[in-house]
């Protein structure tokens, strides 16, 4: 019997704002198998981003467990969580989130510098260029974020998420700034990576058409899962 890649076990997350407690995620349980492409849809404030952050080891749950390959990631040390984010996960944020003083290529190569294993330089530069080419930015390799449009920055961030060959991509509205044609190209790219490399995708989106192209759909409402 193969182990599920992600198991979310009765996870809740409360935020305390002033004197009020806001339940962003309420008792969510979910199993995601390796190599699947899952889309999460729902209204703003429904808890999609928080759920993604919980899976990504960026915020600890108020209760419940998040298992990655059978291990509860929130029993890990801060360094183990960092290593998990660096080597197992590729994260695409709601905005590009690039470092302004690094070029597109340098932004891609930054996660390699954080790997705990030795990182011989051979091949990383070429890989970064190949990924930038794959997202249609061959001519922007040495451009700084300020020299790129919002859509181009978004594509650099998409390419960066694949730099360390992650097992899991967590994408928070990754095509939000893109025009329809580029959005379609990026979706093709994701599907190809999912199919060819077996990379698991969990993608938050408002776009029901995009969600329709994924294998598994999840709807969130007021912090809870609903049948899609």
């Amino acid at each position: 019997m193969t182990m599920s890649q992600i198991v979310i076990d009765a996870v809740s997350k409360d935020y305390r704002v002033a004197n009020e407690t806001i339940a962003a995620v309420r008792g969510v349980s979910l199993v995601i198998e390796r190599g699947t492409f899952v889309s999460i849809v729902g209204h703003s404030g429904s808890g999609k981003t928080t759920l993604l952050s919980l899976i990504g080891g960026m915020v600890s749950p108020s209760s419940g467990r998040v298992l990655f390959n059978g291990e509860d990631i929130y029993t890990w040390t801060s360094d183990q969580l960092s290593q998990y984010r660096c080597e197992k996960i590729g994260f695409m944020f709601q905005s590009a989130s690039l470092l302004s003083i690094l070029t597109a290529k340098e932004n891609l190569m930054l996660p390699v510098a954080f790997r705990s294993q030795g990182t011989p330089d051979g091949g990383h530069g070429q890989k970064a260029e190949r990924l930038l080419h794959a997202v249609g930015l061959s001519d922007k390799i040495n451009a700084y974020p300020a020299q790129l449009s919002g859509g181009q920055q978004r594509r650099v961030a998409i390419a960066r998420a694949f730099m360390n060959d992650p097992e899991l991509i967590l994408a928070d509205e990754p095509t939000g700034d893109l025009d329809e044609e580029t959005e379609n190209e990026m979706m093709q790219f994701f599907l190809r990576m999912n199919k060819d490399h077996g990379t698991t995708f969990i993608m938050v989106t408002h776009n029901s058409e995009l969600a329709g192209r994924t294998r598994q759909h999840i709807r969130m409402h007021q912090g809870m899962l609903q049948p899609a």
Partner: protein
């Protein structure tokens, strides 16, 4: 591949004015450290060396001439003072005195001979001397004859070209300079030495005012083993009313007291500069921490460990601290050289700092500048290190 080093250097270059201000503050601190430590060390070293090399346990001088004698010995000043020769016999008669010798201090007149500036001439008794003779034996190897002189290592008469024989006019008498002494590190380095047997001719020349044939300037005393020089000094002062006495350890006491005040001022200045530098670094790095919190959040989210964040910011702090300290050390050395010309006490000192002492001062200043820079940045960096990656996502 961008390493943490190259990333840190890019960050340093990102705001050149801010980096410049930080470096300037650290440089100021390091320069102040170099200047004040050099000053204090030079004065302290000069006093220590001069008293150590004096060769006498006790100095007996005319009443109220204690300060002038210290100035000659420690600051290369040109001074004269006289007392009656009979005092040496009264000193020799005191209990605890092993040997005593006398010297007469004279001042040449500037411009009389050879474009040589005003200088001290010291006539010493070659029969009883135990101060000059040991140095003389090494260089001249015979008793100084009448009309013969030796120059101190830094004397204006010692032109240091190997020319050790030249005729000089001193007080209307022709003297043959037959050698020069090794550096002693005392005020004697700038003097010219002659034998006491020349004194009758010099006095007869009438070129030295206020000097009588039976006048001497100083009696140098060696006490018997186990005798406290301070107790002999007290005996001198009690029994010889026309003389003051200084034990070797008391020589330079007034200068040391003045130096302590100057040191206190320097210490306060350095402390204030250090506090100012600390708060400047803290304030600027607090601003940097706020400005770059999103950047840190992104790095944490894509896998940076706390140690990566610490390393990145410490590289930046260390580069600024090290560069600032190095600039400060160079500026401090320049400042010491330039300002010491304006400090009479330093200008007159007979001792320069050794390479080792200079290296220690540079190292202390370097550490001082760098450590203050690191300490100032510590709290903001610790705060940044703890930043959770979710912050960046929330901020979006």
């Amino acid at each position: 591949m961008p390493t943490l080093f190259s990333f840190a250097f890019k960050n340093i270059k990102r705001k050149p004015l801010r980096t410049g201000i930080l470096m300037f503050a650290i440089a100021l601190l390091a320069a102040a450290l170099v200047f004040s430590l050099s000053f204090v060390q030079r004065v302290n070293g000069s006093i220590k060396k001069s008293t150590e090399r004096l060769g006498a346990d006790l100095l007996v001088v005319p009443t109220n001439s204690r300060g002038a004698a210290e100035e000659i010995l420690l600051e290369n000043r040109i001074k004269t003072f006289y007392m009656k020769r009979s005092i040496i016999d009264r000193v020799r008669a005191l209990p605890g005195v092993e040997k005593a010798t006398e010297q007469v201090y004279l001042v040449t007149v500037a411009g009389v001979c050879c474009s040589v500036p005003e200088s001290m001439v010291i006539a010493f008794n070659q029969d009883s001397d135990f101060i000059i003779n040991p140095w003389l034996k090494e260089k001249v190897r015979h008793r100084l004859g009448k009309g013969e002189a030796v120059a101190g290592f830094e004397s204006a008469f010692n032109i240091r070209l190997g020319l050790v024989e030249m005729d000089s006019m001193l007080f209307g008498n022709v003297f043959r300079l037959i050698g020069s002494l090794e550096k002693t590190g005392t005020g004697f380095d700038t003097a010219v030495f002659i034998g006491m047997e020349n004194m009758p001719a010099i006095i007869a020349s009438g070129k030295v005012k206020n000097l009588q044939p039976d006048d001497i300037s100083v009696v140098l005393v060696k006490v018997k083993p186990g005798v406290d020089p301070a107790s002999v000094a007290a005996s001198v002062e009690d029994t010889i009313i026309e003389a003051d006495a200084m034990a070797r350890k008391d020589i330079g006491k007034n200068i040391i007291a003045a130096l302590k005040d100057i040191s206190r001022i320097f210490t306060m200045t350095i402390a204030l500069t250090a506090v100012m530098s600390f708060f400047l670094v803290w304030a600027i790095f607090t601003a940097i921490a706020n400005e770059r919190s999103k950047e840190v959040g992104i790095m944490r989210a894509i896998g940076a460990k706390e140690s990566h964040i610490l390393t990145l910011f410490f590289i930046e702090v260390l580069v600024i601290g090290i560069a600032g300290s190095l600039v400060g050390i160079v500026a401090g050395i320049g400042m010491s050289a330039a300002l010491s010309k304006g400090f009479t006490i330093v200008k007159q000192l007979s001792t320069e700092l050794s390479i080792g002492e200079q290296a220690v001062i540079a190292a202390v200043s370097f550490l001082g500048g760098t450590v203050i820079c690191v300490l100032g940045a510590l709290a903001p960096i610790q705060r940044l290190k703890k930043m959770e990656p979710l912050l960046v996502i929330k901020a979006e």
